[in-house]
């Protein structure tokens, strides 16, 4: 700390005026301050100092409590911020996982119930049934072999079981 006792007053005045004027101004200040030194102000009474120290001690205690509550409040705010961040991260992670599951499920069902396969199988079953019906009709009139009929029935059963297997 640079106090007035270490200050080069003349050097300071010389920045704003010529050296002779600076010398005179420095002397004016020195003599003015000498008057103040010759007329000291009264000192505070001892009882006042004791009273101030008591007040200061109480104020310091009050201030310590305030600072403690303030620190506590800051810590609570920090903890709340951490909790909020953690909750938001967790929520995001959960949300991120949810769509993936639904995509898998729909993909699975798509694999089992594909429309094109279903149509093909239905068409094949219908075709086989028509053949059986035709054979039954022909058996009565044209005399088809019994083995051909059995073969067709086996085909129908196979197609039907394939259909349910997917």
């Amino acid at each position: 700390m640079s106090n007035k006792n270490e200050e080069n007053l003349k050097g300071l005045f010389e920045k704003f005026s010529d050296p002779a004027e600076a010398e005179k101004m420095t002397e004016d200040i020195r003599r003015g301050e000498e008057i103040l030194r010759r007329h000291p102000a009264p000192q505070p009474a001892d009882t006042l100092i004791v009273d101030i120290k008591a007040k200061v001690s109480q104020a310091a205690l009050r201030q310590r409590k305030i600072n403690l509550y303030r620190k506590l409040a800051y810590r609570m705010v920090a903890a709340a911020a951490v909790i909020i961040v953690l909750v938001s991260i967790t929520t995001k992670l959960v949300e991120k996982n949810k769509p993936e599951k639904s995509v898998t499920a729909s993909a699975g069902s798509k694999m089992i119930w594909d429309d094109t396969d279903l149509t093909t199988l239905t068409t094949e079953i219908e075709q086989a049934e028509e053949d059986i019906l035709a054979l039954n009709t022909d058996q009565n009139g044209n005399g088809y072999k019994e083995t051909e009929l059995t073969e067709l029935e086996i085909n129908v059963t196979e197609i039907s079981s394939n259909f349910w297997k997917g």
């Binding site: 004016d28 003599r31 103040l36 007329h39 009474a45 200061v56």
Partner: protein, 177 residues
């Protein structure tokens, strides 16, 4: 340990809320701050109150004192307290007048007794304007450099130098009359 190291230790203690350090701070600065208040107000009772208020405010606000000169901060706080007192006094005076009360008229005897209590310097200081008087007292009691005082008053150093020179010269002339 040097004097400034000692002061730095006390200030750190105060910032940590140590009552003993505040007590030491009162011992170091009470005299100078009281001198400042007394020369500004010319009244011992008022100076007592302002000094108490100053140290309580120091306890409350010392946490906001960061860097710079502690004495600069302390005397800036003292100056603020003095001007708060002055404004309050003006408000009370106006309120008193609005209520239709006559200001208290001091008897010649009371005035003579009060004048006996205050010294010649205090009488002559009343003849200076408030700004010049405050500058002289700040310089004398805070022991701050012109650079610090100029920074505290938010004015160029040349202005501070010139005002203080004029003020002290006038005070000397008044005292020599």
């Amino acid at each position: 340990m040097t004097k400034s190291d000692d002061l730095a230790r006390i200030i750190i203690g105060c910032k940590n809320g140590d009552s003993e350090c505040f007590s030491q701070l009162v011992d170091i600065y009470a005299g100078r701050c009281y001198g400042y208040f007394y020369r500004m107000t010319g009244n011992k009772e008022v100076s007592d109150d302002l000094l108490s208020e100053l140290f309580v405010r120091v306890v409350e606000k010392i946490g906001s004192q960061k860097g710079g000169s502690f004495e600069g901060w302390l005397f800036k706080t003292a100056s603020n307290i003095f001007y708060d007192y002055l404004r309050d006094k003006q408000r009370q005076k106006k309120l008193f007048e609005l209520e239709g009360n006559q200001p208290e008229i001091k008897s010649a005897e009371t005035e003579r007794l009060e004048d006996d209590e205050i010294d010649k310097l205090q009488k002559q200081l009343k003849r200076l304007d408030m700004d010049t008087k405050e500058l002289i007292m700040l310089r004398f009691y805070s022991e701050l450099s012109f650079k610090e005082i100029a920074a505290m008053r938010s004015e160029p150093i040349g202005t501070t130098l010139s005002k203080l020179h004029r003020g002290l010269k006038k005070l000397r002339e008044l005292m020599e009359q």
